[in-house]
């Protein structure tokens, strides 16, 4: 077994013994409940359209935003806590590369958040299916989007959403490692998120920001499931993945060399 896979197993072990096992069904339940409420509002004509794919896609979008925000804060707190409590000191006095351990810690947290996101989306899908059925979007006898098309587009749109959640966890975790204490790491993560949202107000800059790509593909599915003419998720997902992937690699490439030079002190 390689050093990286052993480190990943070690960090997964830390999560498996905690709250994760009961948070997965909880996330599914919350996703389902949110979708059910969204369906009730759509039925009354408040917004959207009363369809299974609409509530599933809209709920998936909300779940991705929530998991990204919670994941970034959780990772900042967890990794900052590791450095403050001496857990990182113990890990880094073992025969494992510093970058390998940190990436394993972040990857385990990211996988946990991605699992919660998928669970919430599955819950929303089941809820939408039970309430409205997962059928085609049609106007009269004319099918605007088949059930198969919507299902494929929803699955494709989940990819950038999951990568976005992983990126958010990664940014939070790297800030935790940089600052070495949970409080300042959490505050810095909030400030970073606020800065990204503020920058998104400039149309020239927005396409380069990760915040614009987290749920962009899911929003296409939301529109498609309402019978609106729009680009498909599969049209925008490659660009989303490119931008999110570039941020992910860039952040790791910036922080890991610094971690290699850092003195691990109390």
């Amino acid at each position: 077994m390689s050093s990286a896979s052993r480190a990943l197993r070690a960090e997964a072990l830390r999560l498996s013994g905690g709250r994760l096992p009961w948070m997965v069904p909880l996330a599914a339940g919350l996703g389902g409940t949110y979708a059910w409420g969204l369906g009730a509002a759509a039925e009354r004509g408040l917004f959207g359209s009363p369809g299974g794919f609409y509530v599933a896609a809209a709920s998936a979008s909300g779940a991705a935003d929530t998991c990204a925000a919670v994941g970034a804060l959780l990772a900042a707190s967890a990794v900052g806590g590791d450095f403050a409590s001496g857990v990182a000191r113990t890990a880094l006095s073992r025969p494992v590369r510093r970058g390998t351990w940190l990436l394993a810690r972040i990857a385990a947290l990211a996988a946990a958040l991605a699992l919660l996101d998928v669970s919430a989306c599955a819950g929303a899908m089941v809820s939408g299916g039970l309430r409205f059925g997962l059928g085609a979007v049609a106007e009269g006898g004319y099918v605007l989007a088949s059930a198969r098309l919507l299902l494929v587009q929803l699955a494709v749109a989940m990819l950038p959403a999951l990568v976005g959640v992983v990126l958010a966890v990664c940014l939070g975790g790297l800030l935790g490692a940089l600052l070495g204490r949970p409080g300042p790491a959490v505050v810095s993560t909030v400030l970073l998120a606020a800065a990204l949202l503020a920058l998104a107000r400039w149309p020239q800059v927005e396409p380069l920001l990760p915040t614009a790509h987290l749920t962009a593909a899911l929003e296409r599915v939301v529109q498609l499931s309402q019978g609106l003419a729009t680009l498909h998720a599969s049209d925008v997902a490659p660009r989303d993945l490119l931008v999110l992937g570039a941020w992910l690699l860039g952040a790791v490439a910036l922080v890991l060399p610094w971690l290699g030079r850092k003195d691990i002190v109390a």
């Binding site: 830390r14 013994g17 409590s85 001496g86 113990t90 691990i264 002190v265």
Partner: protein, 236 residues
């Protein structure tokens, strides 16, 4: 060949010279006590040996491997307890050992975890969460974690911290047994009497420098205390 070879390491934090060019060696079967008043530079020296701190000058090698350039290979032959027990509080004692073992290089062996737990007197505490253990028990658990890979070198920073008198006695006996089995040990402590009972040689640091190095003669009780106060200027 020494198991641990420290050669001229120096470390400065801003205006403070934490360690000012110290050199020493520790051989197999030797238990070396590292003494010094607060701020003498002991912890910085131990962190440097563990590869946690990069020295401004000098080098550390463990089993012939340079810690600076081949850190994972060098640390594979060593166990460390640096500045208290830093283990994940959410895990049980056994799972904490599994976590430490997975960050190592040897095969993961559940029987081995139970053996080291028994060795530090925690055989009954394997299923208790780390955060629920007393400070003394966490300290013993951290010593168990350092022993997991049967290291050729054991570096312990204040291993008696938080231990009750029977705990101090038991850990002292464990360290002597490990030395008899051929492990090289470097142990920092403020407990001069305990060091006098366990160590075969002492190094005394003050102001970031090594100010004394001599074998411990157990026949003269209190000799170490006299040496310590004479070379550190009476500062404890």
């Amino acid at each position: 060949m020494p198991v641990l070879d420290v050669s001229g390491i120096a470390k400065r934090y801003g205006p403070i010279q934490a360690v000012g060019g110290i050199s020493f060696q520790v051989h197999a079967g030797e238990l070396v006590g590292l003494l010094g008043p607060n701020g003498a530079g002991k912890s910085t020296a131990l962190r440097t040996i563990a590869g946690l701190v990069h020295p401004d000058a000098g080098s550390v090698s463990i089993g012939g491997c340079d810690v600076g350039s081949r850190r994972p290979e060098a640390l594979a032959g060593a166990g460390f307890l640096i500045e208290g027990p830093g283990l994940p509080g959410e895990l049980t004692a056994l799972r904490a050992l599994a976590w430490v073992a997975l960050l190592g290089r040897r095969p993961v062996d559940r029987g081995g975890w139970r053996e080291v737990l028994a060795r530090v007197g925690l055989a009954e505490a394997g299923n208790r969460r780390v955060r629920e253990l007393s400070l003394g028990m966490r300290q013993r658990l951290a010593i168990a974690a350092a022993l997991l890979d049967r290291p050729a070198l054991l570096v312990l920073d204040e291993p008696m911290n938080g231990l009750d008198p029977p705990g101090v006695r038991d850990v002292g006996e464990l360290l002597r047994t490990l030395a008899r089995e051929g492990t090289a040990l470097l142990v920092s402590s403020h407990l001069l009497d305990e060091v006098e009972r366990t160590a075969s040689r002492v190094l005394v640091m003050a102001g970031g420098r090594l100010v004394a190095e001599q074998p411990v003669d157990g026949a003269h009780a209190g000799a170490l205390r006299e040496l310590f106060f004479s070379v550190t200027g009476g500062v404890e």
